[in-house]
């Protein structure tokens, strides 16, 4: 690394600074490195030589293969997608509608509305779970058939006439919680759009829905991209809701499923590591390709307002 190589201009304070930062980098990277290293070592190798050893038999992807096939990981990714894609889309839709109505038009309760959404998003989920669990168990829904993929069935709505233990139930609670956050962020963003644009469009006879869709949303594209990235990662990473509101292990999205798989399939650290790394791949792809959007989403939500 050429961090220190700048001949003639090396100041001692800079060396100390880089030394500190590099040592922190080592601390930060090591746990991940160790997880990857463990995941690449066949169990036989670690049994023979211990975990703290150089790989004698070489590294291999055997653990990944085992986890992928035995734990049937692809289905769990699918579970996540079935929940996350509609949830992100609907959240952005609802949040952008609220943010549009509350920032482009003045009316008596728009600040109150924004506060209801923001405060709701800040509550620890555990505050509401007791009654929510009951609501989920007692809300009747119609059954509308299902789509079968291998041994898994994806009901279009529900397969037990309830919200409980359903994809739609998990989707719903994500939408409700994240709409609060997304509304807050998007309204911060939309505040910066001049109201004159909306005003003149209305004078020209455009309907509000048209203004929202054709004028305001396109202007919000950067914020929407940032929020989509962030929301997808949040929902992908969620553990709690599916743990609480889903009983059938096979229906759980991948992050929640990981915990069940731990006892059943991941019988040693090598397999745990491989499973964890496989589940971490989508967020790491986000990190590599969408880091800007992700950071923009985080900072939009906190540095303004």
């Amino acid at each position: 690394m050429a961090v220190l190589a700048r001949p003639g201009r090396i100041r001692p304070s800079r060396i100390v600074l880089h030394a500190f930062l590099l040592s922190m980098v080592a601390v930060w990277i090591f746990p991940l490195f160790w997880a990857v290293y463990n995941s690449l070592r066949p169990v036989s190798d670690t049994i023979q030589n211990g975990y703290l050893s150089w790989p004698t038999g070489g590294l291999s992807l055997i653990n990944y293969q085992t986890v992928w096939t035995q734990a049937e990981l692809p289905y769990y990714y699918l579970n996540t997608l079935v929940i996350a894609v509609p949830a992100v889309t609907l959240t952005l839709l609802l949040a952008s509608l609220v943010a549009f109505a509350c920032t482009q038009f003045s009316w008596r309760f728009n600040l109150t509305t924004l506060m209801i959404f923001t405060a709701g998003n800040l509550l620890p989920p555990q505050v509401i779970i007791v009654p929510l669990y009951r609501i989920y168990l007692s809300t009747p829904l119609p059954m509308l058939g299902e789509l079968d993929v291998g041994k898994f069935g994806f009901p279009f709505f529900t397969d037990n006439t309830l919200l409980y233990d359903q994809y739609i139930g998990i989707m719903l609670i994500h939408i409700v919680f994240q709409t609060g956050f997304a509304t807050f962020v998007l309204s911060n963003y939309m505040k910066t759009i001049s109201k004159e644009i909306t005003e003149s469009a209305i004078v020209d006879g455009a309907h509000v829905l048209r203004i929202w869709w054709r004028i305001v949303l396109p202007l919000c594209r950067p914020a929407l991209a940032a929020m989509a990235t962030l929301l997808f990662t949040f929902i992908y990473n969620d553990f709690f809701w599916a743990l609480l509101l889903m009983k059938t292990g096979d229906k759980r999205p991948i992050t929640s499923a990981l915990n069940n798989l731990q006892g059943e399939f991941f019988v040693n650290n090598n397999l745990i590591a491989a499973g964890a790394m496989l589940v971490a791949i989508p967020p790491i792809l986000v990190y590599i390709f969408l880091q800007k959007q992700f950071i923009a989403g985080l900072t939009l939500g906190s540095s303004k307002g």
């Binding site: 922190m24 609220v98 209801i116 985080l298 900072t299």
Partner: protein, 318 residues
Amino acid sequence: MATSITPAREDSPEAGELVATTKGRYNVLTRYDRRVLMLMVGIPLLLDIVFIWWPTLSSILLSFTNYNGVGEVGWNNFIGLKNYQFMFSGYTLFWPAFLHNVIWLAWLAFIATPLGILFAVLLDRDIRGVGFYQSVFFLPVVLSLVIVGFIWELQFSPTEGFINNVLQRTSSTNIIDWLGNPRINLYAILIAATWRHVGYIMVIYLAGLKSVDPTLREAAKVDGANEIQIFFRVVFPVMAPINIVVVVITSIEALRAFDIAFIINQGKNGLELLSILITNNSISEASLVGFGSAIAVILLLISLVPIVIFLSRVMRTR
């Protein structure tokens, strides 16, 4: 004067009124538009109220009952403050869990968050490799707490983990049970939580630092202030809005703590947290709905502190 023309003018005294009004001389918004706008806000608001605020209110009401989840809840379930009495004096897990949340908060507030701020301050300057450093510290932020828990389990696990292997403490006579020993396991998982929290705070603080007027710093430098003085006397005060956000985030994270503890041992034996007690009491086999709600009310009351701080700040800036 067209008082009720709806596109907003904050300065007009009667700005407001989405509802159809007859006061204005010309109403630009049609009745149809008004209805659409009401639905735009109304539907999401209804969802938010039904699935967040109604359960919050129900939690409070249920906390005064002995409801056990079977059948309907009614007046005969009302038991006054008995749940609270039992929680404070009879239930042996409450105070440990409360203490663990306090330790969690103190750890984040005095160790993890300051470290994140330090990283942000160090990286808010023109040095080589800023992007690299930033990316490394930020990496854990995209990972779920479940993965963070798994990754750190590989460090802490007693015989197979890295730490004990390096310390050569893997034999049964001298083993350190990082995750099982109730005197140390909370701190072990706090290290894992820190790994992720630091990058989060760093990113938010860094964004704030970028928006500080550079001439402030220049002026302080000209006046002979050193970097530490510049930060504490000039930068930190003007960062007040971000500082509040950081305080709020830190406290909310501490109150929400759940995932890592649950993954390690389902929040038992040294890892009890309020969030986990609520879950265990009201969802699992025991199903003490009323009692679980009482713990939820305590968590709610504590959470209201950072929430109100945050909202009052939002109010002020608008």
